[in-house]
Symmetry: C2
Subunit: 656 residues, 2 copies
């Protein structure tokens, strides 16, 4: 008797101890320090965004003045850092890469300038100044700067709504330069104010769709050059372009353009195929466009094919970039519109450049500072707008060539720029007889790189909503306009976030055998439910006005179903007594969410059930405490679901 | 020696067993069944929304035909259920409540009709048909149906943009009736298609702000009646109204209106004060408006004050509601606009009715079926639009009176409607001399109930972003217009969801002493970190394009900081070797999120660190598996952070 009494008192003690432990742990939850307030958090976030390397700047202060200046200069001009270790062997590689780049870049630049509805030399100008500025300010070693197809298309499609490039070429050009200036200002501002994350708002999936759509639209635009059509549409959507093409077919048309373009297109594509098969021949596809230009120009010059209907480039002004500061327009009614266009151009150009920069940097294993990149791109476009350049950015195709040509630093960009300057000074007169169809075929040959079918397939496999954003952007660009495609992409992406965030998910949990873990019974079929206790986990991160009522109703429905089920199964068994709400994934709650929890508690209470809360997060427990909800449910707040279960079972034993 | 060998082999065996256990649990994570696809989930969601009580309908099928019809009728007309238990004692209470309601409702209805810029009798009409329809279809017992201030204001402020109520009263009225019809159609459609959740999109906080703003705007509108101003503005914002008032002050104005209005306003407010002090006198504030009307009408009639500048109601047509089906306009250019107005009216009216219905239902402890309520309100407004009623809904103030008058069922609404019919038949002629200032003071006296300062304070205390939505709605209504206020409220609420969802939160975890739990070190200051292993938890529920790069960068920064810290602390200590990512709160991931995890893995790998993943949710592990990310990190996926730690430590021991 005595020993059993001692034994039971021992058990009692151990139970008490356990109870104390439980209580202590529950106190950890309830006595958590106050979470940082909204203002504090905002301040923190701003500080972190603006001074991501806070300590670095603070540590600078203690250094002497000259060193501080040097450090600051090195921050702004990375060239100062790497040029000290720059060696002749590196220069050899850069020279080779730069020359390869120039041979690819010159014909592409002329083609993209026609896509932007500017005179051909403006494409060459854009391949001179921006690469030089980027070379001393940029952090990526492999990016090749210059005009790119998508930006050229975007520019012309937006600005020709304000001014007709054929009727008023000079005022059209002024608008282009002004929007380039605005794009540069926006890019630099993004970088200086550390708003690099804005570029992330164009999701990967929507960029894939957008690029594919843009490739198709650009390809369609090339039909003009390839077919030698004189009257073409200003719209970019597939329906308008095909209508314009069909209309021109009725007129007598000259097949020479088409034959010339197609044969050189085949030539370029074959060289690319050879280049892919044999990595050592990487230079072959890179110089193929230049060879095409030279050959076709010679053919036209020798056969005087221009007299037989082959359209040619004609006069290209030579010489260095003319100063264009006086051409910028900051007055007039279009300034607001130009700033808006500049913003769109800035975002699209940065998206392309940072995407290509990041992918190469991650291959090479170094980190690309997005904000510094933006400042560099911003300045290069601002200076560009003063020197007759339109928006330049990092090109997908040329950066890849630069990378495979083995460039070591941004010196390859400098080499390219100098080469282009030399051609501007010496060779522009030789391009008089270059057929326009060749430029079209050079642009066409660059387009397959923009369409990434493999990635589209991947996106479809992994995330159906991402795929929706992808094809939304694609169809928007192809059937409506470039801007609408972008808008569709951003809208679908954000709608996705809202839908996924407020989707009122509740899942039923069960105990994993042999553990104290409670997991979703569908995800872990081994999990078993405890009779009499229902455990729910709220799946959304927010319990807010948009989903709180739904969550409450679904929990109530499940409670009713479970009770009915239990009743029908075994009338003798006790019915549901406790509902445990696992709040581990709930990051935040608002006043509507708290109100719905209160209502849930009231309804459960009036049906003789108890509500307990397990593992609430910092913000949530703080708000529940502020709203006095913790008191209302009798302090039934626990560190884990397991402890909530233990407490419920032991308190039930007490009451029995 | 031998025993130690046996001992060590025992230890080895136990270690192996544990390892096996660990492996088995990790397999639970990796071998989870495939989660339901997007289409399947959408279908499920739709099914659940449309047939929330699926079993009920299925079980009905097995019943005989007549019973099935009865059940269906009872579903549509709840009156059939409760009328069987209806007793004389209940009717006594309902009669009393209905008469009290009628005495409050009649003067309020006339006032609200003037607010809606309609003839006074239209307010009375609206207090006849809708309450009768609601009485047989509604599920709330206490809601008092009729015209309300906010909807009247919203109606007039939106429709007078289409038609001037003073110049063309008849065509203005037709537009009002048509938009009432549309509002009814939308409400019924919301209910039938179970779109009740749409009403939730106006968050609690923004409703509080919107109502307070509307009260102020309505109060300002009453200045016209109270000051007897003839030329008033059509705009509702505070600046325009105050300008109009100041302008009219320069004209000679008659103080009689003001004195009359203010004295009766004081009378009503005093009776309300008395009613609050003594709960038994609840009827006093309820009939005070009627007494004011009678007294003031008598005073004006006896003193012929209307000859001295006191503005009076003049003729009110008596008789029952005229049929108005032929007045609805479904052709013409304004139909689209009217449908839009109808949609806004439908949402605002439902929001008010469901808010008041829910709060009373939760006091009385019964459940209000939001979808059924919407069908009832929709039908009452559709029928209302056929019988010269404008949009009716459940009124805050009158429902409270109905509740405190002790109503038992919707019979009180029927009593009220019949009483109003009688007054329409007999007493409208007596209202000829009723001063307009009295109507203004009756409306003014109802406004303080719309401003809930205590709740505003509560919202501020609990959720600062909710507060922003609240004051956004308030200032939008007060300084711009009712519509802009609503728009501001919805925009801020959804922006809040986006911001909270994509906010790139990462928290550092530590072990709670004596447990296998790993918690946020700031929330639980008792938690301790394990040297050499960094544990991070992603705070957002979505790792998507908008926050993936930020999360990656923040983790990298912390890793670098911790490594530096550890190095400086003790060079001999091993530095960070493993980074464990707790994904327990991550509900979903998209392709950008996976890409950024891959990049994180690459960078960590190149720095000699390992990445491990703990407790991924269903969707996340499925997508990571599809994207082959699990293989890339060498299958280091664990059920919990604790097991990840154990595995890392043991594998480290193996390598040592």
């Amino acid at each position: 008797m005595a020993s059993s009494a001692i034994g039971s008192s021992n058990v009692q003690e151990r139970l008490d101890l356990e109870q104390n432990n439980l209580n202590e742990r529950a106190r950890w939850v309830l006595d958590a320090p106050e979470p940082p307030g909204v203002w504090h958090e905002l301040l923190d976030c701003a500080k972190e965004t603006i001074f991501p390397l806070g300590n670095k700047f603070l540590s600078l202060r203690s250094e002497p003045g000259t060193k501080r200046v040097t450090s600051l200069l090195q921050e702004i001009f990375p060239v100062l850092v790497w040029c000290r270790n720059y060696k002749a062997t590196k220069f050899k590689n850069d020279l080779l890469a730069g020359l390869t780049l120039a041979s690819l870049c010159s014909p592409q630049s002329i083609g993209y300038a026609t896509l932007a509805k500017l005179d051909p030399q403006y494409g060459l100008y854009t391949s001179v100044v921006p690469p030089l500025i980027y070379a001393i300010m940029g952090t990526s070693r492999e990016i090749a700067i210059g005009p790119v197809a998508v930006v050229s298309l975007l520019l012309s499609s937006m600005i020709q709504k304000l001014e007709d490039p054929l009727a008023n070429p000079i005022s059209y050009r002024n608008l282009v330069l002004t929007s380039t200036f605005f794009a540069g200002v926006f890019q630099a501002a993004f970088g200086l104010f550390r708003l690099g994350f804005l570029v992330d708002f164009l999701s990967h999936a929507s960029i894939v769709g957008f690029m594919a759509g843009a490739a198709i639209v650009i390809g369609l635009q090339q039909l003009k050059g390839l077919l030698g059509i004189t009257h073409f549409t200003n719209k970019t959507d597939i329906v308008s372009v095909l209508k314009a093409v069909l209309k021109s077919v009725h007129h007598p048309w000259n097949p020479h353009n088409f034959i010339l373009g197609c044969s050189f297109l085949s030539f370029i594509l074959i060289t690319r195929f050879l280049g892919r098969r044999n990595k050592k021949l990487f230079w072959l596809p890179a110089i193929a466009p230049l060879i095409s230009v030279i050959l076709s120009t010679l053919i036209v010059f020798l056969t005087r094919a221009d007299k037989h209907g082959v359209k040619i480039v004609k006069h290209i002004s030579g010489g260095l970039n003319p100063i264009s500061v006086h051409e910028l327009q900051f007055h007039g009614q279009d300034v607001g519109e130009l700033a808006r266009i500049g913003l769109i151009l800035a975002v699209v150009a940065l998206t392309e450049a940072i995407a290509v920069g990041r992918s190469i940097a991650s291959i090479k294993g170094y980190h690309l500072d997005g904000n510094k990149e933006m400042v560099a791109m911003g300045f290069m476009n601002i200076v560009g707008s003063f020197t007759s350049c339109y928006v330049a950015t990092g090109s997908f195709s040329r950066s890849a060539v630069n990378f495979s040509a083995g460039c070591e630093s941004t010196v390859s960009n400098i080499v390219m720029a100098i080469t282009v300057v030399i051609s501007l000074e010496l060779f522009t007169r030789l391009l008089y007889y270059t057929p326009i169809a060749i430029l079209a075929s050079i642009i066409l040959s660059a387009l397959p790189g923009l369409i990434d079918l493999h990635e589209v397939q991947n996106i479809w496999k992994i995330d159906k909503l991402d795929f929706l954003a992808c094809i939304g952007a694609f169809f928007g660009v192809v059937f409506a306009s470039v801007e609408i495609g972008l808008l569709a992409a951003v809208t679908i992406s954000f709608a996705k976030i809202i839908i996924l965030s407020i989707r009122p998910g509740v899942e039923s949990l069960g105990r994993l055998p042999g553990t104290d873990l409670f997991c979703h019974v569908n995800q872990y079929p081994v999990a078993v439910k405890t009779p009499g206790i229902l455990i729910f986990r709220i799946k959304s991160a927010l319990l807010c006005f948009a989903n709180a009522n739904f969550v409450r109703e679904r929990i109530m429905r499940w409670v009713v179903e479970e009770s009915n089920h239990e009743e029908s199964e075994d009338k003798a068994q006790r019915t549901t007594r406790v509902v445990v709400l696992d709040m581990s994934s709930l990051m935040n709650i608002d006043t509507s969410g708290i109100a719905s929890l209160e209502e849930l508690h009231k309804i459960l209470d009036s049906n003789g059930m108890q509500l307990a809360i397990a593992s609430p997060r910092w913000k949530v427990i703080d708000k529940l405490r502020l709203a006095k909800f913790v008191d209302k449910i009798g302090g039934r707040v626990f560190l884990t679901v397991g402890e909530a279960m233990d407490a419920c079972l032991s308190s039930e034993m007490d009451t029995i």
